[in-house]
């Protein structure tokens, strides 16, 4: 019970402060949980390890959770892991169910966060041992599995797949980075582009450009009326009640578990978690055609997964000394700055720190829920701001976020604009933005794991025969693809029988 002495009012105050600041970071397009933790990391110099971690864990949970606000209200994912929240969250807002969507998302986030904290507390070392069974091959197959969502997200299959492949291609522009074991050579660009594109296009500016800026361009083209928020009404649709979770318990558990599981695999990345759980919900849903059109189950899948990630990503960090995602990679700094090394013996040798971390994580999730759930009534009013005032403000925040993401690289602002234009023009010619961005997010990892698998094993057949885990993943990939094709055939049949509007 040594850890109880560390649980001071300052400790809880720092968690709460971290959560609130994190939510603000997460809610501003272009600012992420990772950025929140990185910006506040130097503040931990003056704190001891326990209090420093309290602040950073608060920021982490708040930052991941805050991303749902712009995703639902403005169709701009506040963080990469809230992309799939836009798919159903924004349509709900358009139906006048913004508050309902936000509350559903927040409650799902709380569930995902708490479940993953529980898993972390009970099974961290065991799961870390399981995580190291995932070599390059299994990680590649997980990414491939996540990529299968492209098939089910596409409105028109061929165009969707084309958009996905285009996304993968765009992600490969730049150096084949030495930091991932590449040869450092530049690809897919002309010589004059090298000074700008050596690191490729940054994810956040691409994301905000395609989602945020492109939407604003479309609205601008249509002409922004002076009256308030056009056709968006605050409470025109159904109000929130916890009954929204009726029939969604399996979804909640499955998505939180997927988030936790993906989080604990180093290098697979946070966005894959929500993409995977969204795919699975679409596959298992009683009526998959509703997803993407404002179904609360989509928001539940996405948000419980991305908060499930928080506990998951801490598993390899605390059990192996290896960060599970980009935010925990920054979090590791809090330990090194205090001269404490993480590794397989960390938990056993630092039980008090471990226990306080767990308290901070659970408390952060509760504070996140309390702050967001009760502030939602005010937050949701953002959509009542006249668009001619709101949109310039959003553009300004997007530009600031894009500029700040890599500590002041102007090219990131041009990337934002470039992808805004690409998104705007692309949609006119039928390009599908969601598959494109998913291809972009997962493309680099897919390449690295594929190439490294071949370098290590030298044969393609190893992808099928490496391990029972690999075979199991192939079965999941097969089922996912089959579901998508089956769904497509069913939709076509329905269109033939009843006409496309039914």
């Amino acid at each position: 019970m040594e850890f109880l002495s560390a649980l001071t009012p300052l400790f809880f105050g720092l968690v709460g402060f971290g959560v609130v600041v994190g939510i603000i970071f997460g809610a501003i397009p272009g600012m992420t949980a990772t950025m929140a933790v990185a910006v506040c990391l130097p503040m931990t110099y003056g704190l001891d390890l326990t209090n420093g971690l309290a602040l950073l864990l608060g920021l982490y949970v708040g930052g991941i959770s805050g991303g749902l606000v712009p995703a639902i209200l403005l169709n701009i994912p506040g963080t990469p892991s809230s992309i799939t929240t836009t798919f159903d969250g924004y349509p709900m807002t358009q139906k006048g169910e913004g508050e309902r969507a936000l509350k559903t998302g927040i409650a799902s986030s709380l569930f995902g966060g708490l479940l993953s904290a529980l898993v972390l507390f009970l099974f961290a070392p065991t799961l870390a041992d399981f995580a190291i069974k995932f070599s390059y091959i299994e990680k590649f197959l997980i990414i491939l599995f996540a990529l299968t969502v492209i098939a089910s997200l596409s409105k028109r299959l061929l165009l969707g797949i084309f958009s996905g492949v285009l996304g993968v291609w765009l992600s490969l522009i730049g150096a084949y980075d030495v930091s991932v074991g590449g040869n450092g050579e530049y690809r897919l660009m002309f010589g004059f582009m090298e000074p700008y594109l050596e690191s490729g296009f940054s994810l956040l500016p691409v994301l905000i450009g395609l989602f945020g800026l492109a939407t604003i361009f479309q609205e601008a083209e249509a002409g922004i009326r002076e009256e308030v928020a056009g056709d968006l009404k605050l409470e025109a649709g159904k109000p929130f009640s916890f009954a929204v979770f009726r029939g969604q318990i399996v979804n909640l558990f499955r998505s939180s578990a997927i988030g936790t599981f993906v989080g604990m695999l180093p290098g697979v990345g946070g966005s894959a978690a929500s993409v995977l759980s969204y795919t699975q919900q679409k596959n298992f849903s009683k009526d998959p055609s509703k997803l993407g059109k404002g179904a609360p189950e989509g928001v539940i899948a996405s948000e419980s997964a991305n908060n499930g990630l928080t506990g998951g990503a801490l598993i390899p960090l605390l059990s192996l000394g290896i960060p599970g995602d980009s935010t925990t990679a920054v979090l590791i700094g809090a330990f090194t700055l205090q001269g404490i090394q993480l590794g397989p013996l960390f938990i056993g040798e630092n039980l008090a720190t471990w226990d306080t971390m767990m308290v901070a994580l659970v408390f952060a999730n509760l504070v996140m829920f309390a702050v967001m759930f009760f502030a939602i009534r005010h937050i949701v009013k953002v959509i009542t701001i006249p668009k001619y005032l709101l949109y310039p403000g959003i553009i300004m925040m997007c530009v600031v976020g894009a500029y700040a993401i890599n500590y002041g690289i102007m090219f990131d602002v041009w990337t934002l604009l470039l992808f805004g234009i690409l998104g705007y023009l692309g949609q006119k010619v039928g390009l599908e933005i969601a598959p494109l961005i998913i291809g972009f997010i997962l493309g680099q990892q897919a390449e690295v794991y594929f190439v490294k698998s071949l370098e290590s094993f030298g044969t393609l057949s190893i992808f099928f025969t490496k391990s029972p885990i690999a075979m199991f993943l192939w079965v999941l990939i097969g089922i996912s693809v089959a579901y998508s094709i089956f769904g497509l055939i069913k939709a076509r049949q329905r269109d033939r029988d009843h006409g496309p509007d039914q």
């Binding site: 990185a38 990391l41 130097p42 110099y45 041992d129 190291i132 070599s135 390059y136 150096a175 980075d177 030495v178 930091s179 991932v180 074991g181 590449g182 040869n183 450092g184 050579e185 530049y186 000074p195 050596e198 690191s199 180093p266 290098g267 390899p316 192996l320 000394g321 290896i322 960060p323 990679a329 920054v330 979090l331 590791i332 700094g333 330990f335 090194t336 700055l337 001269g339 090394q341 590794g343 397989p344 013996l345 960390f346 890599n406 500590y407 690289i409 690295v448 490294k452 370098e455 290590s456």
Partner: protein
């Protein structure tokens, strides 16, 4: 009386310290705050950790704000390429010239294109490890295995600090058993997690790691799939000897000394052993005024003379190593020239 004397002395020293800080702050040839860009994108790594220690000391000494930005090598070099006002400076380590020697894109000769500033610390932790169940107990076993025609796969991140030990090992095998160096093959990978994973998967026989990141793995029981064993630390013996006696984790300084030259011998040229200390130093714009270079030398010189920073560095397993710019330039240039010979000999 004695107490009064020592109190008076302490007050005098403190006053002198404040006076010197004030003098430095007043004579500052730079305007405003300082941004230190580092060659790493990680805020959890040794470059950020070491630079943060130095930045904090500089901020206190000069009474200004000093911000460390983990922008990565390419962006950091670009930043100091552009700005010569001394407000934006860089801290990096031997990677800055090793990247150039290995021909990595984005790297140029730092001695030609930038002004190399003072060194501040060494990270003595660069290490090579095998699985605990490995038949190879020592680095000599690895060399002998290659000599016997066995293929040894070494997981490294190519093009820099992680590769230099591999190059040296290959060079040593070439000197002792010409033609057998081909048996030592690199498995190029990325992060420490990836290197560890290759060892767990049985896809590498030897990995590059560090005392800090891998020490806990060496304390796992032999039947644990994750258990590892140090076979070689590239640091010089006198570097490790300066570490705190408790070493890192449960591995004492005495334990660590078992893995450095001459106990773990990798010849550089047939007569002396190869060693590599990862040293952190400042880099400035080529045209930065000599007055500013001297200013930072003086400020850091005073910080190290006070002796407080050394304690912080050692607590974090860094070895203090302040050398003013001119001394650092000659020293690092010599180091680069030596490694150039090794890298070219195995090309």
């Amino acid at each position: 009386m004695n107490i009064m004397k020592s109190g008076l002395l302490a007050a005098l020293v403190a006053t002198a310290g404040i006076a010197s800080s004030q003098a430095l702050a007043e004579d500052m040839p730079i305007g405003g705050n300082v941004r230190i860009v580092i060659g790493s994108k990680s805020t959890g790594g040794d470059t950020y950790q070491n630079t943060s220690i130095v930045a904090k000391a500089l901020a206190e000494k000069l009474d200004i704000n000093v911000k460390v930005d983990a922008v990565g090598a390419s962006a950091a070099f670009k930043a100091i390429d552009r700005l010569s006002d001394g407000n934006t400076i860089m801290v990096f380590h031997d990677q800055s010239y090793l990247g150039f020697l290995y021909g990595r894109k984005g790297y140029s000769n730092p001695f030609a294109d930038y002004t190399v500033g003072p060194t501040v610390a060494i990270n003595p932790g660069n290490a090579y490890l095998v699985p605990k169940s490995s038949p190879y107990q020592t680095i000599e076993d690895i060399i002998q295995a290659c000599a016997d025609g066995k293929r040894i796969r070494v997981a490294i991140q190519p093009g820099g600090v992680s590769e230099i030990g591999f190059s040296a090992l290959k060079n040593a095998i070439k000197i002792r058993y010409p033609g057998k160096e081909a048996n030592l093959v690199a498995v190029n990978t990325g992060s420490q997690a990836d290197k560890n994973q290759l060892l767990f998967d049985g896809q590498a026989d030897l990995i590059n790691g560090s005392v800090q990141a891998n020490e806990q793995y060496t304390r796992l029981p032999a039947d644990d799939q994750k258990a590892m064993r140090f076979v070689w630390l590239t640091a010089r013996k006198q570097t490790i000897e300066q570490a705190n006696p408790e070493g890192m984790g449960e591995t004492s300084r005495e334990d660590l000394l078992k893995y450095v030259s001459p106990n773990a011998s990798v010849t550089q040229d047939g007569s002396k052993d190869f060693t590599f200390d990862k040293e952190f130093f400042f880099l400035y714009n080529k045209d930065m005024s000599p007055e500013i270079v001297a200013f930072y030398d003086k400020a850091l010189g005073e910080i190290f003379a006070e002796g407080k920073i050394q304690e912080t560095q050692k607590k974090s397993f860094f070895i203090p190593n302040f050398k003013p710019s001119s001394e650092a330039q000659a020293y690092l240039k010599d180091k680069m020239d030596q490694y150039k010979v090794i890298i070219e000999s195995i090309r």
